[in-house]
Symmetry: C2
Subunit: 392 residues, 2 copies
């Protein structure tokens, strides 16, 4: 399987990355973020608990994959790279206290004669530790290091047609995932059993498209826990008149289509919940209406803020971000943040996840929209009612 996209698609990604490197005077890029590694080479393995990277030189050949010996066959199976561009380090580098895998990376850089230029590294991406940086810096005294944080992430922001198709497939899975949650969550059911139904739908996918693991496990906050995002599930059983926040996604070949909804288990949701839901849905609608090429990200947020200004709802955190290809811990891309000050200009085939979650001490409310910027507006990447779900 030489990558899941065409060779032309990978070449185009590499080309765009090199253009950004040129703009910043970077000769060699060291890519450790797993989604960025996948984006440039197709590499797809759960090996990111050890150090690994992709090297991309400005003007020499295809990218190189460097990783642990036992993962080299994984690189052979999932990338389009030539054998000479798959380099493996010995196992005694793994979690060693006397040597660091980045010393091996530095050796390859020197072997290729790439150690005298400007080397871009992803300084604030998880999976690039301080020790990794220190080992490179020490081993490559002639190099000049430059912060290339999120450089590839920003190439990823505008999706190809093939990527759009993958996200749409993820969207089909997301619809099934939310249906599974809706069906499973009932008074008297354990939260863990509902989570199991959700995971089953996520991994199984549709008849046509196999599900993949989302970069974030099901976030499912019930009752008291609706005062916060980012918790998972417990052994507790759902109670009558409890709200349940669901932050989920389908995934198809590492591409996501996040979906968030709130379920209330009872006939009479509290006024605070329904009022909040109404305001948030109205504000979300205003934000969506503004989305089209040429608009800035902060204008989208401004429309939301103005849309809820008549209410008592206050939202201090960003209302969304860019999404697509990713690995744990995040399906967000660490590029666009939908908040004041983000002056990114929207372009067709950007993907925005708008999720203006509200977490009061009494109850929370979450709803979202995962949308593709189109040539003249936006489209949802899946079809699911925008509402507070009431199960009585």
């Amino acid at each position: 399987m030489p990558g899941v996209f065409s060779r032309e698609e990978y070449q185009s990604r590499v080309q765009k990355t090199r253009e950004k490197m040129a703009g910043r005077g970077i000769d060699l890029l060291v890519v450790c973020q797993p989604a960025n590694m996948n984006y440039l080479t197709g590499y797809d393995g759960w090996s990111f608990y050890v150090h690994q990277c992709v090297l991309l030189h400005q003007d020499q050949g295809e990218p190189m994959w460097l990783g642990r010996g036992m993962d080299a066959n994984g690189a052979r199976l999932t990338t389009y790279l030539a054998e000479d561009n798959i380099r493996e380090y010995a196992d005694d580098y793994v979690q060693s206290t006397v040597k660091h895998p980045m010393e091996f990376v530095a050796d390859v850089i020197k072997e290729k004669g790439w150690d005298k230029g400007v080397i871009g590294v992803e300084m604030d991406q998880f999976y690039f530790t301080h020790s990794a940086y220190a080992a490179l810096e020490k081993s490559l005294p002639q190099a000049k290091f430059s912060d290339a944080n999120a450089l590839v992430n920003w190439v990823r922001v505008v999706k190809s047609e093939a990527e759009v198709e993958f996200i749409r497939r993820a969207g089909l899975i997301s619809e099934k995932v939310m249906d599974a949650a809706k069906n499973a969550i009932n008074v008297g059911v354990r939260e863990c059993d509902a989570a199991a139904a959700v995971a089953h739908a996520q991994y199984s996918g549709t008849e046509d498209y196999a599900g993949d693991y989302p970069a974030i496990v099901p976030l499912m906050m019930a009752g008291e826990a609706t005062k916060t995002p980012h918790l998972t599930w417990t052994e507790k059983v759902y109670q009558e008149n409890e709200a349940v926040l669901l932050e989920l996604s389908g995934a198809y070949r590492r591409y996501h289509a996040p979906i968030a909804r709130t379920i209330f288990l009872g006939e009479n949701p509290p006024r605070l919940l329904t009022d909040t839901a109404n305001v948030v849905l109205e504000g979300l609608d205003k934000a969506l209406e503004t989305i089209k090429p040429g608009v800035t990200v902060e204008e989208v947020e401004e429309a939301w803020r103005k849309g809820i200004a008549h209410s008592t709802v206050v939202k201090e955190s960003r209302i969304g971000y860019s999404f697509g290809l990713n690995y744990p811990p995040d399906w967000g891309e660490q590029t666009i943040s939908i908040r004041p000050g983000d002056k990114t200009v929207l372009e067709p085939n950007m993907m925005l996840h708008l999720i203006p979650g509200i977490w009061y001490d009494e109850v929370g409310f979450e709803v979202d929209a995962s949308v593709q910027v189109t040539s003249d507006g936006y489209e949802h990447v899946y079809d699911y009612p925008l509402e507070l779900i009431i199960k009585d």
Copy 2:
């Protein structure tokens, strides 16, 4: 829920950590690794895609949790910490290009007057980026930084009785998980549907114990992919006479009990597979026989290596590691590596995952043992036959 263990247990963990800090002359520890944060405070949230930490001073009070504003309620719900020890940063620190969350952390350190001593940071833990280090260093010019990598990990190596109980519960789930895989994997079934059955068993758990998400998703390599570990699943259907490698775990409240087996779908497994299985099982048995307090980790590996010396099987990578509490991307603890040179002396209540995987270009074989070191030997943390599983 003031943490899931007793206050005494958390106090004991903090005390042991402080002893290690004293041994290295560390005044203040900045803990970013999510399992280490959980270990010291109980904090359990999927918020580790943004910067966060726990601060532990050598001689002042309980630990402090510092994180994103929207996650502070999660800290209130899952930790035992006093309100004053939960500190939240504003949302515009998140993935900002103009300021870093570690600047907020530095402000708190200065406020507490902790900026003039030796500050230990986890230099090679994922979730502690180079930028995080650089921001701390720049903001705290009077501090001296010391590498406290894996300091808390090493405290975690010896489990309390309560932790042993949690791992045993995870083990009960692991048995169900492997049964689910065994039942679901059949000729003609899509790999993704088998993965869905596995995930369902993982999250659902047992009647008495809710499952939690393992730190690694199901690794399920079939057919050609058995030449490598660390791949997940695809849309392909299982074929007659295919081997399937399974690297799975149950999890209970973030504690693991890894379980790996190999299934062959057919009556007549190839000779290479059965021969390898026999040798590996024999070597594993020899390694297990050596396990008891006072033995060094490298002696365990040596017993394995001698046990297979009569065969053609060669294993260049470590045959296992310490496991327990963890978050993605790894259920291993980044402490013990079962390989030559690891002179760690075994103690009761250490947990070892022995997984001498073999990946030939033709076919692979995986089997494992997750064991607790006891006062005079070892015990498996779950009960599952050590064999090549043949499904004809």
